[in-house]
Amino acid sequence: MTDTNFLKVPTMAEMVEQGKHPEVLFWVGCAGSYDDRYKRVITAFVKILNEVNVNFAVLGPEESCTGDPARRAGNEFLFQMQAMQNIEVLNAYEIKKIVTACPHCFNTIKNEYPALGGNYDVVHHSEFLQGLINDGRLQVDGGQAFKGKKITFHDSCYLGRANGVYQAPRTVIEALDADLVEMKRCKKNGLCCGAGGAQMFKEPEQGNKDINIERTEEALSTGAEVVAAGCPFCMTMINDGIKNKEKEKEVQVMDLAELVAESKGL
């Protein structure tokens, strides 16, 4: 006996129409909305949310860039315009809790929106997944997909150093029974992928090497089969690095949500 269901991705507008309120708002971010590779990450996360029956919603067409790249590039006007418009939407929907799969959105909404009147409880999806695992809502121990596999985790600057979240992503990887191997520069000493501070959107300055190549070499030197990430920019940069090293057949770059979804056969 099987039941055929469709994946649920309710928007806030639809929720309000039905007189409902979600437990948590999933902030998708621009990469999750438009980047083909990161859409797969978002899909994996939505599947997990569906699987464990989390009462969530997205803003859908009402979501807009947080303004992070503009602010880091120095354009405070544009940042504040974006921030205020987003806060207006979030406050109108009386959002209390937000989860996002982008450390840049996470940092901006959590740390920078309060000064402009947006106060929410914001978590990164690694923390959210950790919470689901700890509460027993999400069981990943049955999955054999990554058992004993060497996985290394690349710390995103905006999750790690910027906000001190080092353990949550590692808890998720360890829950998969995988063999977590650390790079030499990890946690608070983690090396940037090269994309932060709006670098994602421009060519690097003159130097003797690209930062993502330096980082990819370090990741490859661990012998890991999977480089786990928790950030769309890191994912793009490390992916490019692995292509540059022609290792895309041997080594995969995967988001934490994808690891969990795959181990559960979602």
Partner: protein, 457 residues
């Protein structure tokens, strides 16, 4: 007679040192407050905690345990030997010798001075190793472009000076011990000390007059050296021995990723968006504020204090992803540039009767180039690496604000990003109307849940 001359000379030396240090400290204080006022928010208990852990306890220095230990030895030696300096100063002023030996039991006195000597030995050994590290081992961060010339000499001068001061301390105590054995009544019998006893044979063959000369010379070189040192550090990167304390106290408590909101922009944005504006100060509305920082005066006083606290160790630069991959940016150079420019502005101000006269120069452009600013990934590795929580990133981002908002000088690719965000609400040129396409597609995807799974869930 000679005694009186010595006392007078001593008073003159200490007075002159006090004058020079006060003058320099006032100058530096005024330079730090070239920076703008900034409200210091947050828990003062936490601030004291940081100061205690990072400045007093040097917690971050122990990330590299061996270097941390040696640095701690030099620092503890510096602090503790100051107690002996107090005795020397009192002796110098009163014309007595070993004034404390008369007031505390001789066994205690003997123990304390011996303990100082052990510290002094640790200082000497550490300084030797530091000299080798700096000059022979070619550790890259000590030899980068910004370390050429004065910064390199400055680092070595201090190490040599420390070694000379410690050698004088041992010579002073050793010749003193010989004079005691000879029964010279000016020298109270306190015996030999744990380290300087090994120096005694060097002096035991000398006549009493020669010994007094040696002892006095060592004593004077030691104390004058310390006076000179205290003036010197106000011109040197070694100011960190004092400024590390306020610097860690006032360091940011909030998450490193947080950038401060620019209030000056908020009201304008509200007007643009047709939102109600609170607290408009009509009186000030004529004055157009400068956005971001082009010079030291546009930074916060905390940024400038950071610059004066920097000891140029280069841990920031050695962790900077841009620098590691050969880009021009070096967070240490940013700090050195801010300090050098603050000094330049301060000198100009003092030469012009207290008001800075435009010298046609700026921090931005003349010291820190756009290329350096643009290379930063805002990853916070520099801020994390700094043993005393200096925040180079805060300065870089503040200067980027100037480049973007006052100069419109951001790279073309970034201007495209700005345009895309404005028009499409995303940094890429995708249609805003397609933002939820991913969700609409997913909704058509079937998910097969077995009946038993549903029950379990």
């Amino acid at each position: 007679m000679i005694q009186i001359v010595q006392q007078l000379a001593f008073v003159a030396a200490i007075g002159f040192t006090g004058y020079l240090v006060t003058k320099r400290a006032t100058f530096i204080y005024k330079n730090i407050f070239l920076g703008k006022e900034e409200e210091i928010k947050g828990d003062s208990a936490k601030r004291f905690g940081n100061m205690f852990r990072l400045a007093f306890g040097q917690q971050k220095m122990f990330d590299r345990p061996l270097v941390g230990l040696m640095h701690f030895a030099v620092y503890a030696g510096f602090l503790l030997i100051n107690i002996e300096v107090l005795e020397i100063v009192l002796d110098g002023l009163t014309g007595q010798h070993r004034i404390f030996a008369n007031v505390i039991p001789s066994s205690t006195y003997h123990f304390i001075v011996s303990f100082f000597e052990v510290m002094a030995l640790a200082v000497t050994v550490s300084c030797f190793i530091f000299l080798i590290r700096r000059n022979a081992l070619k550790i890259p961060r000590f030899h980068m472009a910004e370390m050429k010339g004065w910064p390199y000499r400055d680092a070595n001068i201090i190490l040599y000076a420390e070694i000379i001061l410690m050698t004088m301390l041992f010579s002073m105590n050793a010749s003193d011990a010989v004079l005691q054995q000879m029964g010279n009544e000016h020298y109270p019998v306190v015996g030999t000390f744990v380290i300087s006893q090994f120096f005694v044979p060097l002096f035991s063959g000398l006549s009493e007059t020669a010994l007094v000369a040696v002892e006095r010379t060592a004593w004077w070189v030691h104390i004058l050296g310390i006076f000179a040192f205290s003036v010197y550090i106000t011109y040197s990167k070694h100011l960190h021995i004092f400024l590390a304390f306020p610097n860690t106290y006032f360091a940011k408590l909030e998450p490193k990723g947080k950038m401060e909101n620019m209030e000056s922009v908020t009201n304008e944005v509200k007007i643009m968006l047709g939102m109600p504006v609170e607290n408009t100060d009509q009186g000030n509305s004529d004055e157009m504020p400068t956005f971001g920082a082009k010079d030291v005066q546009d930074l916060s006083w905390r940024n400038v204090m950071n610059a004066y606290s920097c000891t140029e160790c280069g841990r920031c630069t050695s962790q900077c992803p841009a620098n590691i991959t050969g880009k021009k940016l070096s967070p240490r150079k940013v700090m050195m540039d801010v300090r050098d420019r603050a000094e330049e502005i301060g000198k100009n101000r003092d030469a012009n009767g207290g008001t800075f006269q435009d010298d046609g120069k700026m921090l931005y452009g003349d010291y820190i180039s756009k290329e350096e600013l643009m290379a930063c990934t805002s990853c916070n590795a520099c801020a994390e690496a700094c043993p005393i929580n200096i925040d180079p990133l805060g300065i870089i981002l503040e200067m980027r604000r100037y480049v973007a908002m006052e100069e419109s000088g951001t790279p073309q690719e970034w201007n495209m990003v700005f345009q895309n965000i404005e028009n499409n609400q995303a940094p890429w040129a995708f249609a805003a109307s397609d933002r939820f396409k991913w969700g609409e597609e997913l909704r058509t995807q079937e998910t097969k849940k077995s009946a038993s799974d549903n029950i379990k869930a």
